[in-house]
Symmetry: C2
Subunit: 491 residues, 2 copies
């Protein structure tokens, strides 16, 4: 009878918990690894044969072999042909590392799920989940993924799912008067990717770019991070002051602007300004990026025609988004490029790879072509019009003398100017801070101005979003708003 | 009886097509706008009253008012109280613009949908649509969007859907030995966003970053675009040569590495190297980013433990991806950060906004927790193991003397070295070019090296992907490959 093998005492301490959720192989692997890393199983030590050690542990030999195999493949153990399995050679410093290291701090597992932070009135948010046709969306997601899915994997479609590109081109014809072919449509993961593509194709580092002031702040960061130089062009009641842009930087490479509805002030760019802008672009060879972020939500008259629809110079690019008309976390947007640039955009996009998820693209295409998208927009427009009217009435009734709503007939927020009795004592930023403490969200208009510019008193104001809140909620919130503002005016 | 109103002759030419798909209001709007822009309806001209003009056109007055309203709001027309509606004043240059502009070039609408460009063997691609459980995925998408969807809108969840974060933490415990809480998990739209977040939180412009050479090229571009300085650290059979990294740039801020399976060479980083790397990070205060892109697909033994699982210094960040185990255009990945950094990452992410679409996150969470994800990985692993074995056999049988497969037991591609009779005449890039003409895709190993470095003959080789192709297709393709290589060797 063969003499029983002698075991390193450390190995005798290995014990498997039968109640553990981990498989036996993994428990074994981890315990032996820890013995090696802690130095209790020394470098060069021979491990027992799988036959005898598996008997010792009361395990199947297959399980033990799996654990040894993993330890060998990770370099903790090494097999010497004919001689057995040994702890690998590595320096004592390596082993000390484990002991010297600070104890691992794990945050406590979150036992109960944190409650959802529901947006507080008057956060500027788009669709509320309660107003979204979730069941229909669910049906379309299933329908489009149940059938042949070859085209949904999206790999050959760097510019987006073909059906969605067709649906967007159709939508733009009807709603914006833009005649474009689907080849001009590039699906992106949102405006950041669109601007990234545009700057790669059309700009060089150091190029000047006109930006509206006040304007959409994330756009500024993106422009600056691309190595472009922002030129802040002021706004008046006709929109971007093109003549000021020409004075500041006639030779700018590009203008990024919101003609259908200025963000955040809400006016439409006037026809003379539009023509001036196109004329500047044509004569200097500059590009105009039209950011049309929410003009579907116009509450009087029809949606406005896009600047791109009147461009015959081929120098306008159009940025569209589904963040407002669908929901923000969909993360789908698009870019319409002039026909001459299709090839360049295709190449740049292929080089970077598509960033937009393909999962929802076929469902969104069907949502659009079946007419449900237009129906949803119309439904939301009626709903938002009611909410906006209510918010305006409430502000006039309860906050008169404190704030005055500015005229605007579209969008998902209202801009109010601050009356002297309040503005004399507090800046818009201070007011927002106090409102926040009182559980009310508002955005300070001054925070939409570039830090380098001084908007003066005209740049003070408050932005209230209304689209995501029910009428009852708006009413209660305006009462709380009025009380807080009154308190501030008198303090 | 009132005298009938006189009309500008241009306006009499306006005619609505009853067959048109456009609404009457829009046809009217466009025709009048074109008359103004072309100068045929001059500046200052008075428009007919809505009453008489609607009668003239045989239209409802409401339709005409809608068109006038839009033209007024866009600045083409202006209403003077009591006097009527007039064409706005703008300069003749504006009107000339339209005529001077180059004719609009519209690409021809694509009548027939272009056929899908199915990947050609041996493109390195992940799951083929035919192998993906589309029906089950469709069911989960519907299920998760049909019920209460408040949490799917994702706005309060900057770091991803809570259920998905929990599912990922569980997956990492089982498959990678990483003990992390879900708070450490950050859902991103893929490795580009992950690296962006990491560099914002942990790096300053000008910081040096170790990158593996050869390595994943898009990572280099991202690093360079963030203003970081790449330091190319060579690879040997134990993985990244940490001692060479220390020689080149001991004070680097970060090392980005692929310990579980080096990309593209396929070796696992040895234990001594892992310990050296952790030791370097601990002693210099550097960070290690472990990019674990496809180690689920290991065909012998069990999945390897992650470097993060043996890190007790809290200096390892883990990059995970669903591109390989699900599909690439899902555009979901994740990042696991050490517990101490959770707050900083949360703030950076909140500042930039989430980039990952929320649409598939709840479905993916359920796919994981129900065990279907693990089953899918196991099924794909068996499938890919068969395809890999077949490709190896076929290469040995048909291409011996031309190329030699390198040992590797995982992943979705095989690296082959080029035998002297072929390598003496052609570089790997030249070979790939010829293969491409013959309808075969292969990647040149040398293209994975930084341009600044010279890998020498050891850096020549070919990469063949096998995961997305059926056995028949692989067999036929290897025959074509052999014929082309033989031709090249003899030419």
């Amino acid at each position: 009878m063969a003499k029983p093998e002698t075991f390193s005492p450390a190995l005798l301490g290995v014990a498997l918990e039968s109640e553990a959720t981990k498989p036996a192989y993994q428990q074994l692997y981890e315990q032996v690894r820890d013995l090696i890393l802690s130095g209790r199983l020394p470098t060069g030590a021979r491990l027992p044969s799988t036959r005898s050690y598996s008997k010792e542990l009361g395990l199947s030999r297959t399980t033990l072999i799996a654990a040894y195999d993993q330890l060998v493949s990770e370099g903790y153990l090494e097999a010497r042909r004919g001689a057995g399995i040994f702890v690998s050679q590595f320096s004592p410093e390596h082993l000390m590392l484990v002991n010297r290291a600070a104890p691992l701090v794990l945050p406590k597992p979150v036992a109960a799920r944190r409650p959802l932070a529901r947006p507080v009135p008057f956060a500027i948010r788009a669709t509320s989940p309660a107003d979204f046709p979730g069941a229909e969306w669910a049906r379309l997601l299933q329908k489009t993924w149940r059938g042949p899915i070859e085209s949904h994997f999206g790999e050959p479609h760097v510019e987006g799912h073909p059906d969605l590109k067709v649906a967007i081109a159709d939508h733009l014809r009807t709603w914006r008067g833009i005649s474009c072919s689907e080849d001009q449509v590039v699906i992106t993961s949102g405006s950041a990717e669109s601007i990234d593509l545009i700057s790669r194709v059309l700009c060089q580092p150091g190029d000047k770019v006109w930006l509206e002031n006040p304007g959409y702040m994330p756009m500024r960061r993106e422009i600056a991070e691309k190595g472009l130089e922002p030129v802040y062009v002021p706004i008046d009641r006709e929109g971007m002051m093109v003549s000021r842009g020409v004075e500041l930087a006639k030779s700018a490479r590009m203008a990024i602007t919101t003609p259908p509805r200025q963000f955040p002030l809400g006016m439409t760019m006037s026809l003379p300004r539009r023509l001036d802008l196109l004329d500047w672009a044509r004569s200097t060879g500059a590009w105009v990026v039209e950011d049309d972020y929410d003009s579907e939500f116009r509450y009087e008259g029809r949606p406005l025609a896009a600047l791109m629809s009147m461009d015959e110079t081929g120098r306008v690019l159009y940025l569209g988004s589904f963040s407002k008309v669908m929901f923000k976390s969909l993360r789908l947007g698009y870019l319409v490029v002039p026909p001459d640039l299709c090839g360049q955009f295709h190449n740049a996009h292929a080089d970077l790879g598509p960033q937009a998820s393909s999962v929802a693209q076929p469902a969104l295409a069907e949502f659009m072509t079946s007419g449900q998208f237009a129906a949803h927009i119309r439904r939301m427009r009626r709903l938002y019009a009611r909410r906006r009217a209510l918010l305006l009435d409430q502000l006039l009734e309860k906050c008169s003398g404190l704030v005055t709503p500015q005229p605007a007939n579209s969008g998902m927020h209202i801009v109010v100017s601050i009356m002297p009795r309040l503005s004399a004592r507090h800046s818009d930023v201070e007011i927002c801070r106090t409102l926040h403490q009182a559980g009310i969200e508002a955005q300070a208009l001054s925070s939409y101005y570039a830090a380098e510019t001084s908007p003066g008193p005209a740049g003070q104001g408050l932005l209230f979003g209304f689209s995501g809140f029910e009428e009852k909620e708006l009413e209660t919130s305006v009462s709380a708003l009025a009380a807080t503002l009154l308190c501030l005016a008198e303090a």
